[in-house]
């Protein structure tokens, strides 16, 4: 059946750094990182150290009862930092719940990142302040939002790009396929950035995509790149490539960043029930921070200063995060009925008045018992 088309995972797997941190050539990706300086690499390293620290601190805060839940990105720092650092301020990110390192790169304060997980708000920041939408908890829904935004950018004649972040599990949701359809049909300037971290809670990627992920987009008419997601340089390069295509009228690009979720799905998860320990050990060897460190080392840039400075920033950020988290005020009771509509609404307004009266009846304490 040789003329029957078969789906095969593309053998192509783009890398710029070996797990040992050795810089490897890539005809496709090299052009996109020629301008990357040692300072840039150091900055990427700093970012990665800081967001790993944010992750650890948030996990600790959850264990201490200060957060309701936390979804660690441990292991995915290169995929998130490498891609987010490629973006311009006028680009717009539509992400899932795990992209906290992306939020960091978009200038969201660590405290704001935690609001949602502390339960004081359902959106930690104003999306327009950071060019990053409120993370989507409904798996895959945001890929359509990104596509629509990108259609709008095209209509506007702008060269801004939308980036949709989502996981390997998300690729099964109908919304993600529909986003590929619309993006292809309207040649929308959108980058589909899939972090294949090998797991969707307890389900291995093979259940979602037995033929792999990167091969899917081409069938919809969207070029696809499969890259080493633990290689920050390759991620940066591929994202720049995709952004450039989008900015110059080339339409959508799909990137599968192959990485690994080294922690639990969330702090509520118990991966020992489903995940072989050996797999984790294997992936620990491909740790994205270690890899960049080795590269820096080989360039003579892994200096005590860099270490100290990264450490200091991480410490300061962690302290800010902790203090900010604990200091987050509980929302005022009546905000429960605020902002349901943008304009006055007879039904909600009445309920708010009634509830205010009800609360007042508990005076003088004023609050809920």
């Amino acid at each position: 059946m040789h003329t029957v088309l078969t789906g095969e995972t593309p053998a192509i797997f783009l890398q710029l750094l070996s797990p040992d941190g050795v810089r490897m050539p890539s005809a496709e990706l090299d052009p996109w990182v020629v301008d990357v300086t040692g300072d840039d690499l150091a900055a990427l390293y700093r970012d990665m150290v800081v967001v790993r620290r944010i992750d650890a601190e948030a996990t600790a805060l959850q264990r201490q009862g200060e957060l309701g839940l936390w979804p660690p990105l441990l292991g995915q720092e290169a995929a998130q930092i490498g891609s987010a650092r490629a973006l311009r301020a006028d680009d717009f990110v539509f992400s899932s719940y795990r992209e906290n390192a992306v939020a960091w790169c978009r200038g969201v304060s660590p405290t704001d990142i935690l609001r949602v997980w502390r339960g004081t708000a359902q959106s930690g920041w104003d999306p327009f302040d950071h060019g990053m939408a409120t993370p989507s908890i409904i798996i895959g829904a945001q890929t359509l939002h990104a596509t629509g935004w990108a259609m709008g950018a095209r209509f506007d004649g702008a060269d801004s790009v939308a980036v949709a972040y989502f996981g390997d599990g998300a690729t099964s949701e109908g919304d993600v396929s529909e986003a590929l359809v619309f993006a292809a049909s309207f040649q929308a300037p959108v980058v589909f950035f899939c972090q294949n971290n090998h797991w969707a809670i307890s389900e291995p990627v093979g259940l979602q995509a037995p033929a792999g992920i990167a091969g899917r987009a081409p069938g919809f008419g969207i070029p696809s790149l499969r890259i080493d997601g633990n290689d920050v340089l390759a991620v940066l390069a591929a994202t720049r490539l995709a952004l450039h295509r989008a900015r110059t009228g080339g339409g959508p690009t799909f990137i599968e960043a192959v990485t690994y979720r080294m922690g639990p799905h969330t702090t509520a998860d118990d991966p020992t029930r489903y995940r072989p320990a050996a797999e984790l050990e294997e992936w620990a060897k491909r740790d994205p921070i270690l890899r960049l460190r080795r590269l820096l080392d080989s360039l003579g840039r892994f200096t005590p200063e860099l270490v100290a400075e990264s450490q200091a920033l991480a410490d300061a950020t962690a302290a800010e995060l902790r203090a900010g988290c604990i200091g987050l005020p509980d929302p005022e009771p009546l905000t429960v009925l605020a902002n349901v509509y943008a304009t006055p609404h007879a039904g909600v307004d009445r309920q708010r008045a009634e509830y205010a009266a009800y609360l007042a009846s508990f005076e003088p304490t004023g609050g809920k018992p």
Binding site: I138, L144, A153, D175, E178, F182, S185
Partner: protein, 349 residues
């Protein structure tokens, strides 16, 4: 408005496109009134874009978007691939970028593949972001039965949306309101489900460019003193006919066109029920969980001491929409409305 003005008369001949733009009172069919309203909104605001299946060259299966592609081009009148979740989901993204998208769902029964994006995204972004992100999205839905159609083409899904906080829901019954409310819906910074009574698309009536009803307002179609009869969409005509028939028998019915289904304009309904003491609510949607129950519960709470009888519902049955040859049994008609009136007057059962 006199009760005589309700008598159905043959529609005057209406041809061609609405005047460009509508400047004086003009006779238009309901479909053309929406078309004129869309056109007006698109002329007024370049951020208004239309999305939907077959809305371009074809002008939509009901021709509501006729000629708009030619006038505004493919970046404003967007024929989309066949995927409702994507129609709504990309509208969310467009709204994020400052657009005011108007989505057409081809028939009522095809809204469900887009349900998640409506309920979990469109309805919630403003609340979710503490007001930072607005969703000025209008979702147009031809709804209701009575056209002898195949399955999924005659439904009344409005109660799913009136139970969804964050959405506004309107249903129009005549060309004037259709023209006014489509523009109000598009101008609203909140998402609006806009239901169009498909079996009345070709009924014509006067449309004045000035007479805009506010989004949240009900309309007293005919004043009456004995019974309040609440309807919306296609059934407003039937209710008006029932009022005429009842008048011939000496029963005075106050017919109210709800227009806004969420929120309900309780000021108008309450005033009427306080006067009549008797309430009948009618809709095509299934009885259980339909809007009728909600309104009756609310009015019972607000007007208990004024009620002279238990409010009555005249609605579709608790069944999936039936085959065309049975729909006349399912749909509330004049006789069933009068039966409901008899019941609330204690004349039956």
């Amino acid at each position: 408005m006199t009760i005589e003005s309700l008598r159905s008369s043959p529609a005057p001949a209406v041809n061609g496109a609405p005047p460009v733009p509508l400047t004086e009172t003009t006779t238009l069919t309901l479909a053309k009134a929406i078309n004129a309203g869309l056109r007006r909104a698109m002329l007024d605001d370049p951020k208004v874009v239309l999305l939907g299946e077959d809305i371009g060259a074809l002008g939509g299966v009901f021709r509501v978007t006729s000629d708009l592609l030619a006038e505004f081009g493919p970046n404003r009148v967007i024929d989309t691939p066949l995927a409702e979740s994507a129609i709504i989901g990309t509208a969310v993204g467009l709204a994020y970028r400052g657009y005011r998208p108007v989505c057409e769902i081809q028939f009522d029964g095809f809204i469900f593949p887009g349900f998640d994006q409506i309920v979990s995204q469109v309805a919630r972004f403003h609340y979710r972001t503490q007001g930072a992100v607005r969703m000025p999205i209008t979702i147009r839905v031809p709804f209701g039965g009575g056209i002898g159609a195949a399955e999924h083409h005659s439904e009344s899904p409005e109660a799913y949306f009136t139970h969804t906080s964050g959405l506004r829901v309107v249903a129009v019954s005549n060309p004037q309101d259709a023209y006014g409310l489509i523009r109000q819906a598009i101008a609203s910074d909140d998402p609006v489900l806009y239901f169009e009574p498909k079996r009345r698309y070709h009924v014509a009536g006067p449309v004045s460019p000035q007479l805009d009803a506010p989004l949240e307002s009900a309309r007293v179609v005919a004043a009456g003193t004995d019974v309040t009869l609440l309807a919306y969409g296609a059934l407003v005509t039937t209710a008006s006919d029932a009022a005429l028939a009842a008048a011939d028998e000496g029963v005075s019915i106050e017919v109210i066109d709800l227009r806004s289904l969420s929120p309900v304009d309780y000021a108008v309904v309450e005033a009427s029920v306080r006067k009549t003491g008797r309430l009948v609510v009618t809709h095509e949607a299934a009885r259980s969980g339909g809007l009728g129950g909600e309104i009756i519960a609310e009015i019972t709470e607000r007007c208990f001491d004024y009620l002279e009888a238990a409010p009555v519902r005249v609605t579709g049955f608790d069944i999936p929409y039936p085959p065309a040859k049975l729909e006349s049994h399912h749909l509330p008609d004049l006789d069933r409305m009068l039966d409901g009136v008899d019941r609330v007057l204690g004349r039956r059962r």
